[in-house]
């Protein structure tokens, strides 16, 4: 790996949350990794490993207790248009038309008027929704809304696109369509993607590299390169590389010797009652 093309870097990210009893709970414990230009990196891990918190820190929506994210070598602070984000929840502005939604980011960074409108229409073409520019988000299906959300996040031309379980609220059929769409968009434009998911198939299908986290506290367990050849289609799922990587990561995030999640829950509840 060449150092020169590293675009986003996490250096020793630590996050402590204050519990209701006043004690601190460590959610993220010294996470470091780097993302190269035009790389597709997924972060996967069991629930409670802090993967969402990690990507929110990268976006600047939350602050790390220690450590820092660097974008092009500069420490990131707060939110800006350099790091676009797509959320699991539908976050299109319901009072704006689809086109105006996509224009929002452009206007935020000072590109108004016809220029923004043209760019917005172009982005809607890219996600295949050119026809729906004048529709309101409430009139679109969940999958279409997420495609608009992707167009909206990409329109201000961020350096990296952060995606926090963007297809988590969609049904299985739409989700797999969206994955293919995303790969298509990613192939055609110059964008680096950091993708959080708990779906193994999704992570392996999409990524160049997968960062497997472990929980309590969240740590990098292994940085796995995915050698499934591109372009990836439905047939890719049956390739030995796919099956092998999937199995390997499954063992990483659900180790056989770890107690079942349900039991852990009961122990926590018992402790709270005391």
């Amino acid at each position: 790996m060449e150092n020169s093309d590293i675009i986003l870097e996490a250096r020793g990210i630590v996050k402590d949350f204050r519990e209701s009893d006043g004690r601190f709970r460590r959610v993220l414990d010294g996470i470091s990794f780097s993302v190269r230009e035009h790389e597709f990196l997924s972060i996967i891990g069991p629930s409670g490993c802090g993967k969402s918190t990690l990507i929110r820190i990268a976006a600047g929506l939350e602050t790390a207790s220690a450590g820092e994210f660097r974008l092009d070598g500069k420490v990131v602070k707060g939110t800006d248009a350099e790091r676009g984000m797509v959320f699991q929840k539908y976050t299109l502005f319901p009072w704006l038309s689809v086109k105006k939604n996509v224009m929002f980011g452009l206007e935020s960074i000072g590109h108004g008027g016809d220029e923004a409108e043209e760019a917005a229409l172009e982005w809607l073409q890219i996600v295949g929704l050119g026809k729906y520019a004048e529709y309101y988000p409430g009139q679109l299906s969940g999958g279409m809304q997420q495609r608009v959300a992707i167009a909206r996040a990409l329109a201000p031309q961020p350096r990296v696109l952060l995606m926090d379980e963007p297809f988590g609220a969609l049904d299985a059929q739409t989700r797999s369509q969206m994955q293919s769409y995303l790969l298509e968009v990613w192939k055609n434009i110059d964008i680096t993607i950091l993708f959080v998911t708990h779906d193994l198939d999704e992570a392996v299908f999409l990524s160049d590299r997968i960062l497997a986290l472990q929980a309590n506290p969240g740590k990098v367990r292994e940085d796995v390169a995915v050698h499934v050849p591109r372009p990836r289609t439905g047939e890719s799922l049956f390739l030995p590389e796919f099956i092998g990587t999937r199995k390997h990561i499954e063992e990483l995030i659900h180790p056989a010797d770890a107690p079942a999640e349900k039991e852990t829950f009961n122990i926590i509840n018992l402790k709270k009652r005391k």
């Binding site: 935020s108 409430g138 289609t233």
Partner: protein
């Protein structure tokens, strides 16, 4: 009774019928009490005093008194009183109120210098809207500021919350002393009555702006000012509009207090005047008109809200009937579990299903 059930949706017909019934039933009750003598009618109007020394024709006395008097008249051997059962004067029949609704607009004021009914009404409307407008002018911006910036919430809201519990009417005398006896103290009462409710209400509604939308805007590079103006305010605007509708109702309630402050005026003056003359059908007519104004006003605002915030029910509008089948991505149908037939079809169609 197939239309009654928990959360059971109603057909259009049943809805209309029920709405009409909700007005017809109370009206029917009123008619029964007014026109069917044996239901209520506690008094007797004397039509012929007979040999009685106590009553003259036109008197309205209680039935028990009437019966006693007649018993004693009978014992004396005098002629008995005649009378008919009536309701008290404060309970006029529907047709009397209906007549008053028309005549109250036509009847000139009883004294020179007094105002016509419609003039009183317009004066009241003016007071309500002026007070409410001033209240909105201050309450909305301050409330939105408190609801979106925690510093201002701490700085402003605790005192307002405290002040809110002073009943607005107690400021009547004070406002007259400060602002004189004319309309100014009345407007001030409406303002006090609504502003100190409006600010915390607006702030609470503004605080309910969706965090997800605010965060999305932030990651799109929006400045704080832009988040406030282009995300938080449009996000909560429909709820704020509803709050204002509720508060306008409060303003009407405070009107009755405001109008007895200083010189009595407006619809309250009219009602008090008519009650003094014991023309209760006019009192009812005025109350019904107040109710109608409130209802019309609210219906108009509800309609206006639907026009302004049309995007809210975009999914049910005619445009919104576009179904996902129509727009789902057909070029790339990709599933983890394809049946062999589907696979064959996909191969034959260059990857499309």
């Amino acid at each position: 009774m197939s239309f009654i059930g928990i959360h059971k949706p109603l057909s259009r017909k049943v809805k209309i019928a029920a709405t009409l019934l909700s007005f017809i039933l109370p009206l029917a009750l009123w008619c029964t009490v007014s026109y069917v003598p044996f239901v209520y009618h506690p008094l007797v109007e004397v039509t012929d005093a007979g040999g009685s020394m106590l009553c003259v024709p036109g008197d309205e006395i209680e039935r028990s008194v009437f019966n006693e008097e007649n018993a004693s008249l009978k014992a004396e051997g005098s002629a008995a009183m005649k009378g008919k059962r009536v309701n008290p004067v404060y309970l006029p029949a529907p047709h009397e109120v209906a007549k008053a609704l028309v005549t109250s607009f036509r009847t000139p004021p009883k004294r020179d210098g007094d105002v016509w009914f419609h003039e009183s009404l317009l004066h009241s409307i003016k007071i309500v809207f002026l007070g409410f407008f001033i209240s909105m002018l201050l309450g909305l911006p301050l409330g939105i500021l408190c609801g979106s910036v925690p510093f201002f919430e701490r700085l402003i809201e605790p005192f307002i919350e405290f002040f809110r519990y002073f009943p607005a009417p107690v400021f009547g005398a004070l406002m007259v002393a400060i602002l004189g006896i004319n309309d100014a103290p009345k407007v001030a009462i409406i303002f006090i009555g609504t502003f100190f409710q409006m600010l915390p209400m607006t702030a609470a509604t503004t605080r309910r702006a969706e965090t997800a939308l605010v965060e999305a805007a932030e990651t799109l590079g929006a400045s704080q000012k832009r988040v406030l103006w282009h995300v938080i305010i449009p996000n909560v605007a429909p709820s704020l509009f509803k709050d204002m509708r509720i508060l306008l109702g409060w303003a009407w309630t405070y009107l009755i207090v405001a109008e007895v402050v200083g010189t009595s005026s407006g619809i309250t003056w009219f009602i008090n005047q008519q009650a003094k003359y014991r023309v209760f059908e006019n009192v009812y007519a005025a109350i019904v008109i107040l109710g109608c104004i409130g209802l019309l006003c609210d219906a108009f605002l509800a309609w206006l809200g639907r026009q302004i915030f049309a995007w809210q029910d975009g999914s049910t509008s005619s445009l919104g009937k576009v179904k996902r089948e129509l727009c789902s991505p057909s070029n790339y149908v990709f599933s983890f579990r394809l049946t062999p037939e589907e696979k064959k079809l996909k191969e034959a169609n260059n990857g499309k299903l």
